[in-house]
């Protein structure tokens, strides 16, 4: 004869509950699978420079009759050069003589300039004669140069250098207005 007492009922219920709890919570957790792989990123930073100049510069008489014509301009530039190697340069070249004819002639070495206040690199020293045949120096830029933000780069951004340009005034020139083209080139290594 089966005999069901309250004590037995609760014991059975307790064990069943325990088993259920173990069955639910005792399931071993599934482990995450983790795989690690690698890849490389690389950056190649080219040596580069950019320069900008005013669209035009007007040379005006500096004083009395037949005194030279003069004018100033500011070149702005940015540079990043390689950590070692040759010096980079900012240069100028006359790419066309004064026109119309009858006026100043660059071939006669009458167009000169001086450089000052370069915020990066070394400005040209003394009087430089502009040439139709070759580039002449405005600023020499060292290796490992960069623009802006302070050391190891320049503080200034952009960099700048001033050019004071002078044109001889010769009585042989016919009166009139004359224009010549000059080209600034930045070459960064």
């Amino acid at each position: 004869m089966r005999y069901h007492s309250g004590h037995s009922y609760w014991k059975k219920a307790g064990l069943t509950a325990l088993a259920s709890v173990l069955a639910i919570n005792g399931v071993p957790p599934a482990h995450s699978d983790v795989v690690v792989v690698t890849q490389t990123l690389q950056a190649q930073l080219a040596a580069v420079g950019k320069v900008s100049a005013p669209a035009s510069l007007t040379l005006t008489p500096t004083g009395t009759v037949f005194s030279p014509f003069a004018g100033s301009l500011t070149l702005r530039y940015r540079v990043r050069s390689a950590p070692s190697g040759s010096v980079s340069t900012l240069t100028v070249q006359a790419t066309g003589n004064f026109s119309p004819s009858g006026g100043p002639n660059i071939s006669n070495n009458g167009l000169t300039y001086t450089c000052a206040s370069a915020t990066l690199g070394t400005p040209c020293s003394g009087n430089q004669t502009m040439s139709l045949a070759s580039q002449t120096s405005v600023t020499a830029i060292p290796a490992a140069a960069c623009t802006g933000g302070g050391a190891p780069c320049s503080t200034a951004d952009p960099n700048s250098v001033n050019l004071n340009v002078t044109l001889d005034n010769d009585p042989a020139y016919k009166a009139g207005s004359y224009t010549a083209a000059i080209t600034f080139t930045i070459s960064v290594l």
Binding site: L22, L41, R80, A82
Partner: protein
């Protein structure tokens, strides 16, 4: 009173055996009911991605190619999730004449796909760092060899404040693929 006591003891033993059987079954069947997903056939291409930074005025220099992470899972379930994290192994690019933090590299997920009922979605673009960040995630596909493919674009924020390089600056990325 003796028959009643024996009956109780027998019933208790039976209940205990039943409970133990249930616990054993739970453990024995657990691997079948909740087997761990296995990741395999992992590939990351290409091995190296290059930024050709020729103009610091460009806001961002894209990598020369997109990156692709591909892998497969077996034993996946649509109730479980996967994700791919990425982190840089160093805080700055190595072999650079300038200090370039890895945060100058932007990571952007283009697409994340799965199959066999799995899903994939891209996370928002982020700047690279040395802490893991999630590129893409989703729910697992079922069955064997379920494919997943994630396509990434990288871009580099150049600057005039970086000295030019004579050899490439590099940084290693670590991808962590997790299937729960």
């Amino acid at each position: 009173m003796a028959p009643r006591s024996d009956s109780l003891r027998g019933e208790s033993r039976g209940t205990i055996w039943l409970a133990l059987l249930m616990v054993w079954l739970a453990h024995a069947l657990a691997p079948l009911a909740h087997a761990a997903t296995q990741i395999h056939s992992v590939s990351v291409t290409p091995a190296a991605i290059t930024f050709l930074a020729n103009d610091p005025d460009l806001a961002f220099v894209p990598g020369n190619v997109s990156g692709t992470i591909a892998f497969r899972t077996t034993g996946g379930a649509t109730t479980r999730t996967w994700r791919v994290d990425v982190q840089a192994t160093t805080g700055n690019l190595a072999s650079c004449p300038s200090t370039i933090p890895v945060s100058r590299i932007q990571v952007s997920c283009v697409s994340a796909t799965s199959d066999n009922g799995g899903t994939g979605s891209c996370g928002a673009p982020f700047s690279l760092s040395t802490t893991p960040q999630t590129i893409a995630s989703g729910t697992e596909g079922t069955g064997n060899a379920t494919p997943y493919t994630i396509t990434l674009n990288f871009s580099f924020q150049d600057s005039w404040q970086y000295i030019a390089t004579t050899s490439p600056c590099t940084v290693s990325l670590t991808y962590q693929i997790v299937a729960n």
